[in-house]
């Protein structure tokens, strides 16, 4: 995910490293992902997605029945983002120690709006806000394209 975003000499060190635990490998990558800005303009983005599932832990730390205001999915999302940022900072410290531009962190932040997009599915089948937005945007695009396709078929009398 850092190809073309991190200087070649730093990237080579990163690819040649022996510990696979230090790699940042998201679950899904998308390219040309349409995103509507506040101005209404649609831009195409690279995005990375991390899929996480959750279970009710026996001590109920995440699912706290006494504090229902903060949902477990949103807690998990915050954890994932913090983890990815920490990993990117760690890579900067390891491979670009004297470099103030933080190549790995800035490359990571160049994906999506500000890095990783978490897709969390929990014990009761509930999902986080980002997952809902993804489902809505995919459904909208599919509906629009299907409508255009049916219009084209009608125009040209295609079966």
């Amino acid at each position: 995910m850092f190809h073309g975003l991190v200087p070649a000499e730093i990237l080579k060190q990163y690819c040649d490293q022996h510990s696979i635990k230090e790699f940042i490998i998201p679950n899904i990558m998308t390219y040309d992902h349409p995103h509507r800005e506040r101005s209404g303009r649609v831009i195409l983005q690279r995005r990375i997605f991390e899929v996480k599932t959750m279970r009710v832990d026996s001590r109920m730390n995440k699912y706290n029945p006494r504090n229902p205001c903060r949902r477990a999915v949103e807690k998990r999302v915050a954890e994932i983002e913090a983890h990815y940022t920490k990993q990117a900072k760690k890579l900067d410290a390891t491979f670009a120690a004297g470099n103030n531009s933080n190549p790995f962190l800035s490359a990571y932040k160049s994906y999506g709006m500000n890095g990783i997009d978490s897709l969390v599915v929990d014990h009761f089948g509930e999902v986080n806000k980002g997952f809902k937005q993804l489902i809505c945007s995919v459904a909208k695009v599919a509906a629009e394209c299907g409508f255009r396709l049916s219009n084209l078929k009608q125009t040209f009398n295609l079966s």
């Binding site: 995910m1 190809h3 690819c15 696979i20 790699f23 490998i25 998201p26 679950n27 899904i28 990558m29 998308t30 390219y31 040309d32 992902h33 349409p34 195409l44 995005r47 997605f49 899929v51 996480k52 599932t53 279970r55 009710v56 832990d57 026996s58 109920m60 699912y63 029945p65 006494r66 229902p68 949902r71 477990a72 999915v73 897709l119 599915v121 929990d122 014990h123 009761f124 089948g125 509930e126 999902v127 997952f131 809902k132 993804l134 489902i135 995919v138 695009v141 599919a142 394209c145 299907g146 396709l149």
Partner: protein
């Protein structure tokens, strides 16, 4: 030809009234006999008010945390955590096409409501164990879900959800949505996948 077709249909089917077609329930599917009858709107409003009142009542019970009102914390958790996405499986009612089997449907509903698992009931007697760590099977299936199993445990759920999202994106990809790449990173990341991407 139309005449021949009508002649083929038995007489009783030609003279069907609206009550015959709707099995003596003319209110079925929103049909009304009276043009000015707006009872449907009132009933809808009434049922919405009743649902809102019931929601408020249950919410108050859970907020006050009165022990007598709920048996398990799971019910409370489900009340606060379920959303419209988790309720979607209720739309896939069991049918003869086998879209959603009866036992799965029951299990899904019980999970959403935070009730004890129907399938695990015979095993939740504190004498049954599961997983490599041999944890005791509980009624809600939390330990079953957390258990480390040979040939698949909760990793399987992760993989199926990941595949579902990729399928979803790929279907829209054909419509020009976005190009998708799956990292072969899970459960054990391979180094080749990183270098390719």
């Amino acid at each position: 030809m139309c005449n021949e077709f009508h002649a083929m249909i038995p007489d009783h089917e030609n003279n069907l009234s609206s009550s015959d077609a709707l099995h003596n329930d003319s209110s079925f599917a929103g049909f009304t006999l009276n043009e000015k009858d707006k009872a449907g709107i009132n009933i809808q409003r009434l049922s919405k008010d009743l649902e809102d009142a019931t929601k408020e009542h249950i919410d108050r019970i859970y907020t006050q945390n009165e022990e007598g009102h709920f048996n398990y914390n799971m019910e409370r958790l489900s009340w606060y955590n379920t959303d419209e996405i988790s309720m979607q499986c209720l739309r896939a009612l069991p049918n003869r096409d086998g879209m959603f089997k009866n036992d799965i449907f029951i299990e899904a509903v019980r999970r959403i409501l935070g009730l004890p698992s129907h399938i695990l009931q015979p095993f939740a007697d504190e004498h049954h164990f599961i997983g490599r760590n041999a944890t005791v099977v509980d009624v809600h299936g939390i330990m079953v879900k957390n258990a480390m199993l040979i040939n698949g445990d909760y990793h399987r759920m992760h993989a199926s959800i990941q595949s579902l999202i990729i399928d979803m994106l790929k279907k829209t990809q054909d419509m020009g949505y976005s190009r998708t790449a799956k990292h072969v990173s899970w459960p054990c990341p391979s180094r080749d996948s990183q270098t390719i991407l």
